[in-house]
Symmetry: C2
Subunit: 247 residues, 2 copies
């Protein structure tokens, strides 16, 4: 039953040697293409990496995280207005798709496609891991995968059969993310309450210690997602959007 | 079997009167929260609209499409760094999250959450429709839903039990969206081949006629997604990102 799979899922970062044959991969991609998309323009593409040499080329863009080379298949999901624009021009139509709103539609389409793929893959017993590094080093990925104008990599998935079964990570309580009718902004008290269970988790207490920090939040702001890096990679990605023709 | 539901799904724009009780809605949202997200920061929120008055307020932002007021539940999914930043500040941490890269992480998180929600809802027999108008009129939606700094609406879903069973729309053949190892750019010939079935569909031929156009592509470029509108709504949305603190 699918909802059970969805309820108990966890990200998988280690994979067995079991291959994922093309017919199975294609079946999952066909299912993913059934997802909603903007005006049925399907403003996305996916680049499948199976060759070890290509995985190694991509690895530095993903901070050499081991799953990027260890997974049997790596998929790079791209916002893509190139195909639609080429078609339109061939059909006596004048597309005005070189702008930010089209990019936003294309990132939405790409994520609908990518996540539907992941749910289907997990339902078939595979495991996935999203690599958030894709938009950090989009410039490098564009070069390696030879992405043309109006194509920008959005996210990457490593895919394979699980070699382990990690603990399911915690999530904030539902009331933390859910608002009724209007957004109820957080108060000091509500923040205390909503983050309490997360902060009291033994694994998170250990995580703070290992990183020599006072609070869990500091691990994120001082180490994992620093202001300096966020700002640097913002500039890189905005430059990529300009270069690829979306800004 | 979930993959069958995913394979045969179609967007639903008309709904029966059957209500969606809170426990069921909450179950689906809990499942959606199991989706991957950036560093487990959960950079998203959802605002649930059930009150008819609120739906009517939102309707113009969605070009008064009937499903926006006819659906029993409307959900607005938002990129949200506000909650995380408030928590960090309360924990002696200095977040640097007021930038474009954080917005991109948050839009990705929002879409993973939204699409997982949709797959689960469809598996439970409900139908959904994405409203792409959300980023066009993000400024209006921010005001109506009272979204604070570092919160931006990304997409909206209308949800209910299907009142009809429309035809499943066509998709491009898989080879149109799939690239192996590197991106194989499209040629005049490949575009002809990939779009042929779509253009020969009786429904699409009719659609071109109804719109008094020569080609299907022109319906998109001249009527549905014009250069003028795309550019206008690009400016609006970039302004929203600045105002909400992401640019």
């Amino acid at each position: 039953m699918v909802l059970d799979t969805m309820k108990t899922r966890r990200t998988i970062r280690q994979y067995t040697d079991q291959e994922i044959p093309d017919p199975l991969l294609n079946e999952l991609l066909e299912i993913a293409a059934r997802a909603s998309n903007t005006g049925n323009m399907q403003l996305y593409s996916v680049v499948v990496t199976r060759e070890q040499e290509k995985k190694k080329q991509l690895a530095p863009a993903h901070f050499n995280q081991p799953m990027a080379t260890q997974a049997p298949v790596v998929l790079t999901f791209c916002a893509d207005a190139n195909r639609f624009v080429k078609w339109a021009k061939q059909r006596n139509a004048e597309p005005g798709f070189d702008n930010f709103q089209t990019f936003i539609a294309a990132i939405i389409d790409s994520m609908l496609f990518a996540q539907t793929f992941c749910v289907a893959a997990e339902e078939k017993g595979m495991g996935i891991c999203y690599l958030g590094t894709t938009t950090y080093h989009a410039d490098q990925i564009i070069e390696i995968l030879q992405l043309p104008q109006l194509v920008v990599p959005i996210t990457t998935i490593t895919l394979g059969y699980p070699a382990n079964q990690p603990e399911q990570p915690e999530r904030l309580p539902l009331e933390a993310i859910l608002h009724h009718e209007t957004y109820q902004d957080y108060t000091e008290n509500s923040i205390e309450k909503l983050y309490q269970a997360k902060e009291e988790l033994e694994a998170n207490i250990q995580y703070v210690k290992e990183n020599n920090k006072e609070t869990l939040a500091q691990v994120f702001t001082d180490i994992r997602y620093t202001k300096k890096n966020n700002e640097y990679f913002s500039d890189v990605f905005l430059e990529v959007l300009k270069k690829q023709g979306f800004l």
